[in-house]
Amino acid sequence: MTLIAAQDHAHGQEPGQQAHDNAPSAPPPRASRRPRRASRHPLRAEFLRGFAPWTGVALFLAIAVAMAGTSAQWQGGWAETRGRLHTTAVLLGVPLALAAGCRQGGRERRRRTEELMATAVRGTLARFLAAALPVACWAVAGYVVAAALTLLATALRATGDRPDLVAPLTDAVALASAVLVGHVVGRRLPWRLTPPLLAVAGYVVLGFVTYDSTGSLRHLTPIGDTSDIDVPVWWQPLVMAVWTGGLAAAAVLAYAARRRFTALLPLAAAMAAGTLLVQTGDGLWHTNPVARRQVCDTSTTPQICVNARYEDLLPQVTAALADLTGRLDGVQNLPVRFTDLPGEPGPDEVRLPITTPIGWTVVRGRLASPRQFAWEAGMALYDRAECDTAVDPSVARVDEAVQHYLAPNPLAGDFDKLEAEGSEADRAELRDRLEARARLREMGGEERRAWLSAYFATARACDPSEVPAL
């Protein structure tokens, strides 16, 4: 294509058109304009005309729309952003890139310029790259713009941790490789249905390998692991890029190189990288060191800790729990702290109400409902879930009264109203509950602290006689 493109430019036509549409009516180029036009590189038309720019636009739109639609679930968390962008780029972008490359590969056949191209001076590889690389570059450009916007969106609402800029590079290599592989397939099978068929095949393969999340082959897909608290070892993106890029380079060389055995070199590199990925298996991923730390506000009782991945949330969490911790001031037998680390909390600790996955409690770097959060934190302070028998109604009433005093359920009013309109038993239960709440509220400050201290000493007790009555 490059070879006749220089001539095409003199006429301002798209390259290739001349092959079958050599319009005799085109005016001869004027001598004064020729030097400026001739100075343009032949590849310029390949980059700016035809299908290639549309590939970039399509990829940008697909990724940007899919990311924007789910923005509540990643905006504000760097790990979530990385995982979501990566999954979207691979699951959505790779089939699209395969299809785009495949369509571009069938171009010579559609234009019936195959024989003309075969007479060109330049070798097959040069002609192949001149047609395939513009699509690959545009695909990567579309992805890079979408990724930049995504990272910017998270940077505006980030709450801790730091961005991972290497993962998008792996995705870009995977997309470019998909375009090149698609191009080879399109050249080999120039049929109308090949592009959608290839795209669906890409979907099915990627989907199935992800679906079977236990097999070791999943380490070979560019999707990899998308757990939010895991990060890859430093060389994983590099090896993944060698794996995907090597396969694509091998396909291109085997198809277009003058010495086809040169395809063995990238193939060997890809095989080595693939073997390394499969052999290392789960060792490719380790827990993010940041996720194993937490930052704490020690001025309150209990202390409040949030995971270091969300360290900037601490002021919001402390503010949401301010009423609760204020009412617990001076009370004994409380847990030492609310903790927010992976794994079970320690003996003197209780778990902070979950802040992850983001999009529920925390949306775009903000606590969505501080009152709900405070109520959940209050609920965490007692735990009778491990009792063998059902909780005695009198104990449940005491628990409820304490919860209501510390941080009422935002929906408590609605529940009370429903029961007030319910059966006789419901109304009696409501009456008892309101009385228990009133007795706790009417205690003097010192008396209430003493009673609460006694209550929290039995926060895990199952025997109703141990729990102080109201």
Partner: protein, 202 residues
């Protein structure tokens, strides 16, 4: 020996190959639904329910291509009847074959959801063929389906069944309406206008 007009039409639109591709799609869908252990949970059928109609629609869309567009326009007889029969026959075939992959669970992701998605996707493809050209008609619907499939699970709201009709349970009436409207509009557009003329350079 003379060959009848309909037979020539069928050949010129590569209908035999299209029918074979549709049959292969249905077979692949049956295999995929089985591999996904969809009998355990109808929700696991969603990939099949979304992807099989997408590919069937791509097959039908590319069969709308005519290699002799300018010559066709000089014909004496009206084309719309042939286009109508062509589109309806292939859609009916796809709608009859694909539901075999997802028998049972009619109100969730069962045969009726598969038929709905086949109609909707085919309508979108037919519209794309009329506006973009038949050879690239699969591209818009492909992007749309992928984005909905990835994004819809995360979204809630009253308007979701309207644009995420593809991944709604079969009992959702709004999704049916959207799919039927898509099929109606796309079908009418194609039947009246035919696939957009494409030069050899596209």
């Amino acid at each position: 020996m003379t060959t009848s007009g309909p037979l020539l039409y069928v050949r010129s639109r590569t209908v035999p190959r299209t029918v074979a591709a549709l049959a292969a799609t249905a077979a692949l869908a049956v295999w995929a639904a089985h591999e996904l252990d969809a009998y355990l949970d109808p929700d696991r059928r969603v990939p099949v329910i979304a992807l099989a109609p997408l590919f069937a629609a791509a097959v039908i869309g590319t069969s709308l291509y005519t290699a002799s567009e300018e010559l066709d326009r000089t014909a004496v007889r009206p084309w719309w009847r042939r286009r109508l029969v062509h589109l309806l026959t292939l859609t009916a075939l796809a709608a009859a074959l694909l539901p075999w992959a997802v028998l049972g669970h009619a109100s969730f992701f069962g045969p009726s959801a598969m038929i709905r998605n086949t109609l909707g996707c085919t309508g979108l493809t037919a519209a794309a063929a009329a506006l973009l050209g038949a050879r690239l008609s699969w591209l818009p619907v492909f992007g749309y389906v992928s984005a909905v499939y990835l994004g819809a699970s995360a979204l809630r709201g009253n308007s979701v069944p309207l644009w995420a009709w593809l991944v709604q349970p079969a009992a959702e009436r709004g999704a049916w309406v959207v799919a039927l409207v898509a099929f109606g509009v796309g079908g009418v557009l194609y039947v009246l206008r035919g696939a957009r003329a494409e030069g050899a350079r596209d």
